[in-house]
Symmetry: C2
Subunit: 218 residues, 2 copies
DNA sequence: AATTTTTGTTAGACTATTCTAACATTATAG
DNA sequence: CTATAATGTTAGAATAGTCTAACAAAAATT
């Protein structure tokens, strides 16, 4: 499989998680590639039995396509973890590099990185690392946005990996694993005041709170 | 620069070290790409001022081409070193992977690997790692083949990175840095009997001895 | 139900990299 | 100094991946 094909599969996989149905246009926007190009690549991947395609119908991955995509995402996330844990990169710097290294052809290379990291289950953004069969564990986290006053929760994952968002979370001194307690929610704009680790107070816009995924503490 | 262009430059660089003049045919053989293809790529790289090209004349790298090639080789060798030192690969397993990773677009990634390795000067095969300007230190080693009986020397580098050669060196229990003393040379076939680290005796064919590069111990 | 908007498809072109076949030049050997 | 061999170049075609322009179908709006 080529680097290009791998990127298409991965994009379709991600879109399929977020949306009920995925259109050619969705894929086109997500890859920043024009629709006719996507159309022909979809046909090609369909002929390889990786995508199920019928004219004018939504796109879906076949079992094989899902597995292939899962395996690429596994490599991507292992690499991100390695870059943070062993090369000292910030979580906002790793995606671009992982986007390239995920296409390296060497099973053993990724196996060794997995081993070096002691078989991590999540990447630096809290996203699950698919297993050796490309299976992704389903995470069932809540958006901090949906929590009520006095709710306590643990910061488990981020809903966006945009640079600016990650940098903001850094600036707010928030890290995965932090305990968050909702102190106050503004009626007007849903801005939240929260207490982090029983320690520092922060104010979060609704947009930020939407992208902070938490596990509720009972 | 594309991955393909980088590979052409690197190949020309290596050939230029080994031979006085490099022809289109040499480059074609070394890359396993047919002559007409090489011919057109050479023209392209010439238009980018990376290769000096005149019809029917030998090929040479421009200053810029040399620098670019040196920088790719730097990445290649840093990666090989990393694979051996941190991921436990054998020196016979790293070339293929480095051949891919050398094309990753991220200065910082390679800088961090350099730092992690504590700024190594040679790769796992004893070849020099070019500096940040792509400059390669000239090594002045002797072939073990050329040593006389009773000569003592230190194993510094290998003249071939062929899998089978590296595996043989492993099997002979030879490692870079080992002290080698020539005990006997067969007149008939130049086979050498040597003493390694004042410890174990080994018999080396002339072909093997040619590819063992040593520093003479006075 | 008709019209407009959105989405999807087809056709045709372009660049990068490769190839084969044919021809040209240079080098080598008698 | 020719004839042959080796090397190099040109021409033309193929594949992968991309694009724009034009047309088609489906969905949304009146
Ligand atoms: Mn990522
Ligand atoms: Mn990618
Ligand atoms: Mn190598
Ligand atoms: Mn390479």
């Amino acid at each position: 499989m080529t680097l290009t094909e791998e990127n298409y599969l991965k994009a379709l996989f991600h879109l399929s998680l977020e949306n009920e149905e995925v259109s050619v246009l969705d894929l086109s926007k997500s890859l920043n590639i024009k629709m006719p190009t996507v159309n022909s690549m979809v046909k090609k991947l369909s002929s390889k039995e990786l995508i199920s395609y019928e004219k004018y119908k939504p796109l879906t991955l076949t079992q094989g396509g899902k597995r292939a995509a899962g395996l690429i995402i596994r490599k991507h996330r292992l690499v991100e973890m390695f870059l943070v844990e062993h090369l000292g990169f910030g979580w906002d710097e790793v995606h671009e590099i992982a986007e390239q290294i995920e296409h390296i052809k060497s099973q053993k290379f990724f196996d060794r990185i997995d081993q070096l990291l002691d078989f991590p289950k999540v990447d630096p953004h809290g996203s699950p690392i698919p297993d050796i069969n490309g299976e992704v564990a389903v995470q069932n986290y809540n958006k901090l946005e949906e929590c009520l006053v006095n709710q306590q929760a643990t910061f488990m994952s981020v809903g966006s990996s945009q640079d600016s968002f990650l940098k903001l979370i850094d600036k707010l001194n928030l890290k995965l694993g932090d305990k968050i307690k909702v102190l106050e929610i503004q009626d007007f704009d849903k801005t939240m005041r929260v207490l982090v680790n029983n320690n520092s107070e922060q104010t979060l816009s609704q947009l930020v709170a939407t992208n902070i995924l938490v596990k509720l503490n009972v």
